[in-house]
């Protein structure tokens, strides 16, 4: 080692080699972790995808390879799912409830969040906290009084019951979420639009809402996901097959007594899960992206 490669008694070249080695191991660890998680995430999908085409014999014989076909695949279970259950009705109901709940949630929580974030009213702060407290009450506590309310309104056995009750869960959370997004958009931009020739509503529509897009998407996904997976209310209010959603319809009609229609269950789940996963993926960067970065201050 010559004098020029040491500094204050330290071997610079050795330090450099050590740093390089750490960097390589760091990269290796990162990729190994990513691959592991990708495998963990994909495994249930691939297993369900194979199982849904398996003959019952193939599935239930313990000696068979669970990860591949031991007998030739069959469409029998999908036929059962589509033709002998109300699966398509469940999907339609879920979409209807999801759309209606999303619309109601946005219509209420956007103005609420705007008022809480922007207008300096005396009760604003306390209202915000009150809304947050509502969101801490678990639905398992609320479903008994809610059932009484729905029955006295005569809304049981209809999709309207879910359309009216789900917003009680989605609105507080969405208002809270959107409030944060509104606060993240500088007041200057809105006022600038008002000076530039718009009313407050015009300024919000043209300047604030486009910047709120990630927040609105988050609310849409949240409301829609809730409508498609909520179980307690959906089970308590609606018993007849024609008004069930996926969340209640699939487990109640594909598990008859102690007989599980495993392949049809797998099929029912995967046909819902894959589109939702793709949708999430498409908007993932919208959630994350710093949309207003550099807009106001350099």
């Amino acid at each position: 080692m010559t004098e020029s490669t040491t500094w204050a008694g330290t071997d610079v070249a050795a330090l450099q080699r050590q740093a390089d080695r750490r960097h390589r191991w760091g990269r290796f660890g990162l990729y190994a972790g990513a691959i592991l998680f990708a495998f963990l995430a994909a495994f249930p999908f691939s297993w369900a995808l194979i199982s849904m085409f398996k003959e019952s014999n193939d599935l239930y014989v313990k000696e068979n390879n669970p990860f591949w076909f031991n007998e030739s695949p069959t469409l029998e279970h999908l036929r059962l799912l589509f033709l002998e259950t109300n699966y398509l009705t469940f999907i339609r109901n879920t979409v209807l409830v999801g759309l209606a709940v999303t619309a109601i949630t946005l219509a209420v929580s956007l103005p609420a969040a705007y008022a809480l974030a922007r207008l300096r009213l005396r009760w604003g702060e306390r209202m915000g906290i009150a809304i947050f407290l509502v969101y801490l009450i678990p639905p398992t506590l609320l479903f008994i009084p809610m059932t009484r309310v729905i029955t006295s309104l005569g809304l049981q056995e209809s999709l309207l019951s879910l359309i009216l009750v789900y917003p009680t869960i989605t609105i507080p959370i969405s208002s809270w979420l959107l409030m944060g997004f509104f606060k993240g958009i500088p007041m200057d931009i809105e006022e600038q639009a008002m000076v530039d020739g718009h009313s407050r509503m015009g300024a919000i529509a043209r300047v604030v809402l486009p910047l709120m897009f990630p927040g609105i998407i988050a609310v849409v996904v949240f409301a829609f996901t809730l409508a498609s997976h909520e179980f307690i209310y959906a089970l308590a209010f609606n018993k007849s097959s024609a008004v069930k959603t996926i969340a209640t319809g699939v487990p109640t009609e594909l598990v008859r007594g102690d007989v599980f229609f495993w392949q049809s269950l797998q099929g029912a789940v995967i046909m819902i899960a894959v589109p939702i996963a793709l949708l999430f993926n498409a908007f993932l960067d919208r959630f994350i992206s710093g949309f207003t970065m550099g807009a106001v201050k350099g």
């Binding site: 200057d188 006022e191 639009a193 008002m194 000076v195 020739g197 970065m293 550099g294």
Partner: protein, 366 residues
């Protein structure tokens, strides 16, 4: 004529002609604004001249931004009247006041290109796309930002953002320009250039401009007149020379100037002088009309172009004062010693002992 609006009642003619723009006088009468218990603006009367560059200067919290926001219509006054071009606009929303405002942050719309940012006020007016494009190009040309039209705000430097904000303000053909500390986000080097840009632009357009700042260098350098504000009131309105050399009260005297005016107390009144007027004996020419003091120097700061001398005056209860000697005065000054210093008689300023207001010169007795 680089541009004329189609179908409008007014024509925006050559950018070089200062009389082409519609110039309006801004007037506020007895304007008050209270936020709950806090009085932000406390009865302000102010009238701009046509085409004037009027600066509102004051420390933070003095009400200058609130006053500007009331003129813009972003804040409702508690009491009082705002007139633009002779018309009472107190109850009009911002969009109806024919003003343009540039915010401290520039408030560019982050989701739009520079071209769409500039076109935004025109779209709001419902101008057709062809006329709009023509006007955007004209405004961009005026500020030398033609090359940036397809960029987004986050891809611009601070100086470029200012130009985009100004171009957007200009296309509206406002009658009044309101600027809220537009230079405070820029670094010091860029600030001088941006100030130059801004002045050049205002002179060319000749539009009445109200400019809010807490920076006295900006105020002195840019303003035709300066309104010095404190605690929601205007303490003095005057040209930079007037507010610097003839401050209306102790607040103005000590707010302007860096270092501020030295103030001394004597029975019955206060008096003061600027640090640069406080010179060692033998340096100033007019010895006969000067008032002598014994200056005990504690510390010297050498700043290249000048020297700051920190110390106190023996005759007045050892009041601390600062002297500023230009680099042309090379006389050696030793520290921890008394020196003979003096101030020209006509450079002494006198203030009332109780309310701090300017009073006529008084005889100094010791």
């Amino acid at each position: 004529m680089p541009f004329s609006t189609t179908g409008g009642d007014r024509v925006w003619s050559a950018a070089g002609d200062p009389h082409s723009a519609i110039v309006a006088v801004v007037e506020v009468r007895d304007l008050r604004k209270e936020f709950g218990e806090v009085v932000a603006v406390d009865g302000v009367d102010l009238r701009s001249e046509e085409g004037e560059f009027l600066v509102l200067l004051g420390p933070s919290g003095c009400g200058k931004t609130t006053l500007l926001r009331m003129i813009a219509g972003l804040e409702q006054p508690t009491e009082g009247e705002i007139r633009i071009g002779g018309e009472d606009v107190s109850r009009l929303p911002p969009r109806a006041r024919r003003i343009a405002m540039v915010f401290q942050s520039y408030a560019l719309y982050p989701h739009m290109t520079v071209a769409n940012n500039i076109a935004f006020p025109l779209k709001a007016q419902g101008m057709d796309p062809e006329a709009r494009n023509e006007k955007v190009e004209w405004a961009a040309g005026l500020f030398g930002i033609e090359g940036l039209l397809q960029r987004r705000p986050r891809q611009l430097s601070g100086g470029e953002r200012q130009r985009v904000a100004l171009a957007r303000a200009l296309v509206r053909e406002p009658t009044v320009f309101l600027l809220d500390e537009p230079l405070s986000n820029l670094d010091a080097k860029l600030r001088a250039a941006a100030r130059d840009d801004l002045m050049e632009f205002q002179r060319r357009i000749g539009i009445t401009t109200i400019y809010v700042t807490h920076d006295q260098v900006e105020a002195m350098g840019m303003g035709d007149r300066i309104a010095v504000m404190d605690h929601g009131r205007i303490r003095q309105l005057g040209t930079p020379e007037e507010v610097y050399h003839h401050p209306a009260d102790v607040f103005v005297a000590q707010f302007l100037g860096s270092p501020p005016m030295n103030l001394l107390e004597t029975p019955g009144f206060l008096f003061g002088f600027r640090p640069e007027q406080f010179l060692p004996e033998g340096v100033a020419a007019d010895e006969g009309t000067r008032v002598p003091f014994t200056f005990h120097v504690n510390r010297i700061e050498y700043l290249g172009s000048e020297r700051f001398l920190y110390g106190f005056i023996r005759e007045y209860d050892e009041t601390r004062v600062i002297a500023m000697l230009p680099a042309t005065v090379t006389l050696p000054i030793s520290i921890d010693q008394d020196h003979k210093f003096s101030v020209a008689k006509d450079q002494l300023r006198f203030f009332d002992y109780d309310d701090g207001a300017k009073i006529a010169p008084q005889p100094l007795m010791r």
